[in-house]
Symmetry: C2
Subunit: 258 residues, 2 copies
DNA sequence: CGCAAAAAACATGCATGCACTTTCTCGGCC
DNA sequence: GGCCGAGAAAGTGCATGCATGTTTTTTGCG
């Protein structure tokens, strides 16, 4: 009944399709952190059974994008501030490796592809934040792809997704101006072949993104009343603050629209 | 990704149990790279249905320990030499971060735990290689655990498992002597609080493990008989092939862990 | 009117059944 | 004798059913 639309192409891989769709939805904040993801709703939406939806959720949980609680509805992950900081720390190390592997080894076509991507970012800067954030994230993934190291690609993608999710939680209205110019700087450094400069630029870039986003530990911009009030409700606010990932989401299930 | 959710200690978690058992079996080379993992056999061995076994395999596949081919029996992953080198590169970066986070921040109890683990390694050096290799790997995971950064823990664990799998493929009989002393050196540096020294020692350690293992690109030791015997192309090849491959597929696929 | 306990609705955990694909095997043919 | 193809066997892909646990609604009571 639903969509066997892409049956003609490579879409024999159903769980992969669902994973990609959900990932993208999460990245663009169509599904906010804490949003419920019931298996049967997903299954109905994508025209598959719960079995497949379940498998896809497991996959996404492995990537850290959704949180799987036993006997409970899966929800989009809500990383704590501490998680976010850790994620950026790891990301910086991984992307340092990307820089080292790529510096001076890029062909003309690759440079062109990178430049084109940044152009697209610039073009999208006027549009909605969601697209702009996604494109910025995908720039880093594009870089990682060029290392042709499957492991590195997977890890950078994963961590970049998580960071992106985090940004959507903590960051105020995205200002991508600086992001674009910093990306251009990285491309230039890579093209010139100076690994140290490229590493330095990327480090600076990521650090600035992180600090722009992670200025203060708290302040999830309000979705769930219980979350927001948690620190105030209890006498010892310190304990509540520490466990800021506590999730009592009573939000609507974003998937069963219409 | 070891744990998508931390049900790891509850015995109600069946897929986690199977994952852990299989991981361990793979680590200790009870299951060699290329070994078949039919869902039926797994399910029967662990007393669950194919559904669960399948889920566990998916999990392990996400970790890169098993290879999942559509409509085909899953097999223990057989990383290429290139994969192995990439894995070590990533691992070095990640463990550098571990060192930086841990240097000078370890309590007495933690130092003691680390020392005790290395003592166990030393004691196991006389025993079978499999145990010794596993313990050496777990030392690094123990270190990562002490960072208390879930992301870092997960990534280091995963990459360490993969490297361990690789070692079992390419390395010659394990010589853990040096490993133990290097581990002790790292502990000392961490305790003294000198981050740079710790980073340097760990880097050296990993590099030496990698180079011990990855001397030459070739020689997949005994996985696919066809590959190995290809150069020889003798008439007896058929017999040898039956002997090894057939045997493994049927009965030995399952694990008697612990 | 508020609150708590019971029950209905809802969702997941897991096993099993059926269809389809790959692999193995055996008998016919060159 | 060796190669090849049809059928059988084995295995995966996926949906569905039932049991169990969770959330919400309803109902009874102070």
């Amino acid at each position: 009944m639903a969509r066997e639309d892409d049956e003609s192409r490579k879409s024999a891989d159903k769980v992969g399709t669902i994973c990609r769709a959900l990932r993208r939805a999460i990245l663009e904040q169509a599904l906010e952190p804490g949003a419920k993801l019931p298996e049967d709703a997903l299954g109905e939406r994508f025209g598959v059974s719960r079995t497949i939806a379940r498998h896809a959720l497991g996959q996404l949980a492995a990537e850290g994008l959704v949180e799987l609680r036993r006997n409970r509805i899966a929800v989009v992950a809500t990383p704590s501030w501490r998680d976010a900081r850790d994620a950026f720390d790891v990301r910086i190390e991984l992307e340092r490796l990307v820089m080292r592997q790529l510096a001076g080894r890029l062909g003309k076509a690759q440079i062109a592809a990178l430049t084109a991507h940044v152009d697209a970012e610039e073009a999208a800067a006027a549009g909605p934040d969601a697209v702009s954030i996604r494109l910025a994230t995908e720039f880093h993934i594009l870089l990682a792809t060029m290392t042709e190291s499957p492991i590195l690609i997977r890890y950078v993608s994963e961590i970049a997704y998580r960071c992106c999710l985090t940004l959507s939680l903590f960051s105020r209205p995205h200002s991508s101006e600086c992001g674009v110019s910093e990306h251009r700087g990285v491309i230039a450094a890579l093209a010139s072949g100076d690994a140290e400069v490229a590493i330095g630029l990327m480090h600076e870039h990521l650090e600035s993104v992180a600090s722009r986003a992670l200025v203060a530990p708290g302040k999830p911009r309000g979705r769930d009343i219980m979350d927001i009030l948690a620190p105030y409700a209890s006498p010892d606010a310190a304990a509540a603050r520490r466990d800021s990932a506590g999730d009592r989401s009573a939000g609507r299930a974003s998937v069963d629209a219409e």
